[in-house]
């Protein structure tokens, strides 16, 4: 059970959160202008790295806010937590 530092509420048990997959996948500005392949990449393709990964979490059983986390998928170490709209911080 991860201890996730919600940027609004502080550290809380993982069970209070909902996972939202890879972060920084913006909804395309003009979907109609995209090729089928580009649109399919937006819909279906996500990174799956071993190591640091920027991902979205929502504090569903708390403040109900979405935020971003950089988590090492191999060790579960959380390197950074930041708010939606902020750039991914540089982590070690």
């Amino acid at each position: 059970m991860l201890l996730i530092p919600c940027p609004w509420c502080g550290p809380r048990d993982e069970a209070e959160f909902h996972y939202g997959g890879q972060a920084h996948i913006a909804y395309p500005d003009n979907p109609a202008a995209l090729s089928d392949e580009e649109w399919a990449r937006y819909l279906f393709f996500r990174d799956n790295p071993k190591g640091p990964f920027a991902e979205r979490w929502s504090h569903t059983a708390g403040c109900r806010r979405w935020f971003n986390v950089v988590r090492d998928t191999a060790t579960n170490e959380i390197h950074a937590v930041y708010r939606v709209g902020e750039p991914r911080p540089v982590t070690a």
């Binding site: 201890l3 395309p28 109609a32 995209l34 089928d36 649109w39 929502s58 569903t60 806010r65 579960n76």
Partner: protein, 944 residues
């Protein structure tokens, strides 16, 4: 003591009566079931799972691989180890052949859960654990000290070692009592730490009343799960002794040497009269000497080494114990239990048989690294110990004492104290300048162990009785077969042979299995590695994990304001998500079919009402609310006028239908959105996700108001006249109150919002009032006696007759609005909305997509099973049979006077008029494909 022939002289305590395998025995307070059985000379306690071989007590703790028992009374509990069942008066138990039986009656006990936080969690109250806890606790840290046994002391409980001049277990008891008196210390006895997860989240199970039997007070939870978050964890989990693979090493009478020592010293029981000892290391000598001093004749010690510790050799000589160095035990012999032991020099030499009823074995000691490994720590092989010890770990965890390979008592105490100091520093406390540990006796200089795993058998032996996992009946022969089949990883051998997968998870056998695999492969065991350690460390009852969350507390139950009326009027209920919804209201003598047909007729021909309060309702408010809903729904919402209502569908970005419902415009900047009952929370989450992550510039807020409103759907050609009577102030004629509009008025004197919407095709109204008045409104509607109440089944039939899909029943996340025949709801005008781009994908315009159609079985009495697949031919071809689609909804229709179904069928609309076949039982039933709208296709009935 005559009733307990193997009880040591002078043992005292209250006599307890118990029954095992149908025979009555006596034991002493403080016994485990295992020690009490040994005191009575019971050697065979259980039988093995595959081979049915008799098995006896092998160990003295949770690592016991053999003595599986079932408690029969006072309450049935399967699969417990006799070595961990504390004896109580009236205990009735039986030995198990590897598998137990679940109780045949409900468990009357309570189970509970506790959440706790601490600075330092110490697992294990042996010498290292107590030392660590003492240092941390005396500096003021919040300390939890957990130990699985009833009393603290760990290894001290089984030995005659002294600390500060008194017996070690007395020191342990006094020290733990002193710590427990500190305000920030909690000592958890009979508490097994079973799981160690991320960020030092640790699960432990405390057995509070199991040891009291029928005397357990009902108000105290039998077991309690502790969910502990610790800043720092010290794992002082000690070690388990392991055995050696030789022929007959499973016979009752073969026992781990350290366990025998515990039985003699702690439980005051003699595990036999005449023993042979087989060892690879010095530790078994202490056991042999303690047994000898207690009156067990030690016939011989077979030590695989040429040079055992000198002090130990001298002590054997003093007692006249024959010491056979460079010898091995090649076989334990006997019918059903050990009667003699075959001993031979290593390599060549004459074997001899030594009569004995007890064979003590020590193949060395393995640190208990389970939790360290679970917590993400690496392990490394220690050549001196012949075992894996903790390596690196990222979490704030460290092992201490024997758990990290420290072998002396003095060393463990010092190591524990150091771990306590480091834990203090890590948890942010000032570390005292010095810490003291109690004085331990000088220990004899240790001679190195020699790690012998497998005693080679004569050429004609197939290793079929050299056991490596006693509980799984896995022998060296099985392991050799696995390796011979090409398996070279311990993980694969584990799965192939099942070694290490029993209740004990290979505590005594895991390393031995690895070593035999390594031996067969000709590699080092350190190189081969071990299998992965996973929670739980020891078996846990499901009841403990469930805690209080059982029965009606298993999941929240949601009921509407009208619920008590439905109950009082005999409604049958259906679970929809967490809601209890009236399913149908049978009259006396009616079955479900009759009741639903009657309710349907009432709605189509007269007037009927349904409790629709469970529909999800979301208040969407803000200057940008209309823009937001335009992006969310496939159709246009911004053009909706205040006072009007529009049906809408929302899709995921992939274009698949996600939810549907109505949108009511309450003001320029305020909408009330309804969702399907089961999807209310998901739709609100969906809205929040887009608002927060993609469109934070939109000034919109969303609030769930599902439970603030109670809703009555009033349906049928006579609904207008009933409403007119209930709401005399409301103009109800079609021009004043047209379809898809809403009005505010008093209904039965209650302020209400009335919406003219229909989910049945009939003239209908949904009357919404504050949920506080829900019951009053319902009772007012029902008061005249002319309105028929109907439930969800009738609602389903009515909507299906009209071809209205139910999201989640007629859709499954792979269905577009176009597939449902709802092109009309997909806006062509809007530049974009969620899902729009996907409608131009090749996949969503494939001509062979499944489309929603109606089905009419050719026999109008045949009801198709929902989920039935459809095929083109009247007899099934050879499998695999290509399916055209499947039935999503199927009912008997009062209006149509026959059965009908909805189905998703490939090229369905092209097939209208075609005959297809659906399997019903063993038969293929012919059906005709029709439009999905089967009733009132021209929509003539909605205005009454």
């Amino acid at each position: 003591m005559s009733g307990q022939p193997y009880r040591r002289e002078g043992a005292t305590g209250k006599t307890l009566r118990f029954r095992f395998d149908g025979r009555d025995y006596e034991g002493l307070e403080g016994d485990t079931l295992a020690s009490a059985l040994l005191a009575n000379g019971v050697r065979a306690v259980a039988s093995s799972i595959k081979l049915g071989r008799p098995r006896g007590v092998y160990a003295a703790g949770c690592e016991e691989p053999n003595a599986l028992v079932q408690i029969e009374e006072p309450f049935p509990e399967p699969m417990l180890t006799a070595t961990t069942v504390e004896l109580y008066d009236g205990l009735v138990a039986t030995g198990l052949p590897g598998q137990g039986r679940l109780a045949d009656r409900p468990d009357p006990a309570r189970y509970d859960a506790v959440h706790a936080h601490c600075d330092v969690l110490v697992v294990g109250a042996g010498p290292a654990g107590i030392a660590a806890a003492g240092v941390a606790a005396r500096a003021g840290a919040r300390v939890i000290l957990a130990d699985e046994r009833p009393a603290p002391g760990g290894s001290l409980l089984g030995t005659t070692e002294t600390l500060d001049g008194r017996p070690g277990h007395e020191w342990a008891a006094a020290e733990v009592a002193a710590l427990e008196a500190l305000p920030e210390v909690r000592v958890l006895r009979r508490t097994s730490v079973i799981g160690h997860y991320d960020d030092n989240y640790v699960i432990a199970v405390e057995r509070r009343t199991n040891h009291l039997g029928a005397a357990a007070p009902a108000h105290v939870a039998r077991e309690r799960v502790w969910r502990i978050r610790a800043k720092r964890v010290v794992l002082a989990t000690g070690g388990h002794e392991r055995f050696v693979a030789f022929a007959g090493n499973d016979l009752p009478g073969v026992m781990l040497a350290g366990a025998a020592r515990t039985y003699v010293n702690h439980y005051r029981v003699l595990p036999g009269r005449r023993a042979v000892v087989f060892t690879t290391n010095d530790s078994a000598y202490a056991a042999a000497l303690d047994l000898a001093d207690a009156g067990v004749e030690i016939a011989a010690i077979a030590d695989v080494r040429q040079a055992p510790g000198e002090t130990w050799a001298a002590r054997c000589a003093e007692r006249g114990i024959e010491l056979l160095t460079g010898h091995v035990v090649t076989a334990a012999l006997g019918e059903g239990e050990v009667s003699s032991v075959r001993v031979a020099p290593r390599g060549d030499g004459q074997a001899r048989e030594i009569p004995a009823d007890l064979l003590l074995v020590s193949g060395g000691w393995t640190p208990v690294v389970h939790l360290f490994s679970q917590a993400g720590g690496t392990l490394r092989y220690d050549e001196g110990l012949g075992a894996f010890v903790p390596g690196e770990i990222r979490q704030a965890v460290e092992a201490a004492g024997f758990a990290r390979g420290v072998t002396t008592l003095r060393g463990c105490l010092e190591d524990g104290a150091q771990a306590g100091r480091r834990a203090l520093a890590a948890a942010g406390f000032a570390v005292p300048s010095e810490t003291s540990v109690p004085a331990a006796e000088e220990e004899p200089a240790a001679a190195p162990a020699e790690h012998l795993w497998l005693v080679e058998a004569p050429g004609d032996d197939d290793y079929g009785a050299h056991f490596v996992d006693l509980q799984r009946d896995v022998t060296v022969a099985d392991v050799l077969r696995a390796v011979g089949a090409g398996l070279s990883s311990v993980e694969h051998v584990k799965r192939y042979t099942t070694a290490g997968t029993a209740h004990d998870q290979g505590k005594t056998s895991g390393l031995l299995t690895s070593a035999v695999v390594a031996h067969a492969l000709g590699v080092d065991v350190g190189e081969l590695g071990t299998t992965t350690f996973r929670a739980p460390y020891t078996p846990v009852s499901f009841a403990a994990l469930a805690g209080r969350d059982r029965g009606h507390l298993h999941d929240p139950i949601r009921v509407t304001a009208m619920h008590e009326w439905h109950v009082a009027h005999g409604a049958r209920f259906e679970n929809v998500g967490q809601w209890k919804r009236p399913w149908y209201y049978p009259r006396p003598g009616e079955d479900m079919e009759a009741a639903v047909l009657r309710e349907c007729r009432a709605a189509r021909e007269d007037v009927a009402a349904m409790d629709a309060s469970t529909l999800g309702k979301i208040d969407v408010v803000g200057p940008d609310a209309a823009v937001f809903l335009d992006r969310l729904y496939t159709n246009m919402m911004s053009t909706l006028k205040v006072g009007s209502i529009r049906y809408g569908v929302m899709c995921r970005a992939d274009g698949m239908v996600f939810d549907d419902g109505t949108v009511i415009r309450l003001a320029d900047d305020r909408f009330l959105v309804t969702t399907t009952t089961g999807n209310a929370a998901a739709v609100l989450d969906w809205m929040e996700e887009w608002l927060q992550t993609e469109w934070p510039d939109l000034r919109v807020s969303c609030t769930s108001v599902t439970e603030q409103w109670a809703t009555v759907a009033l349906v049928g050609p006579r609904s207008r006249e009933v409403l007119a009577r209930l709401a005399p102030g409301l103009a109800v004629d079609n021009d004043s109150f047209p379809f898809m509009t809403w009005r505010e008025a008093e209904v039965a004197g209650i302020p209400a919002r009335i919406c003219r919407i229909s989910f049945s095709g009939e003239l209908a109204y949904e009357i919404n009032v504050s949920s506080w008045y829900g019951l009053a409104l319902w009772e007012a509607v029902m008061a005249s006696g002319e309105v028929t109440p109907y439930g969800t089944e009738t609602m389903h039939v009515l909507r299906a007759e009209k071809g209205y899909p139910i999201v989640g029943q007629d859709t499954d996340g792979t269905v577009t609005p176009q597939d449902l025949g709802m092109e009309w709801i997909v806006s062509k005008k809007k530049a974009d909305f969620i899902g729009k781009r996907s409608f131009a994908r090749a996949d969503t315009s494939r001509p062979d997509r499944k489309q929603l159609v109606g089905l009419l079985p050719e026999d109008p009495g045949v009801l198709l099973p929902e989920g039935a697949h459809l095929v083109e031919t009247s007899s099934l071809p050879e499998p695999p049979v290509p399916t055209l689609g499947f039935v999503t909804s199927s009912y008997r229709s009062a209006a149509l006077g026959r059965t009908f179904a909805l189905a998703l069928v490939s090229r369905g609309r092209e097939r209208i008029g075609e005959r297809l076949y659906a399997p019903v039982g063993a038969e293929l039933v012919p059906v005709t494909v029709t439009s999905h709208v089967l009733y009132d296709p021209e929509g003539a009935r909605r205005d009454g």
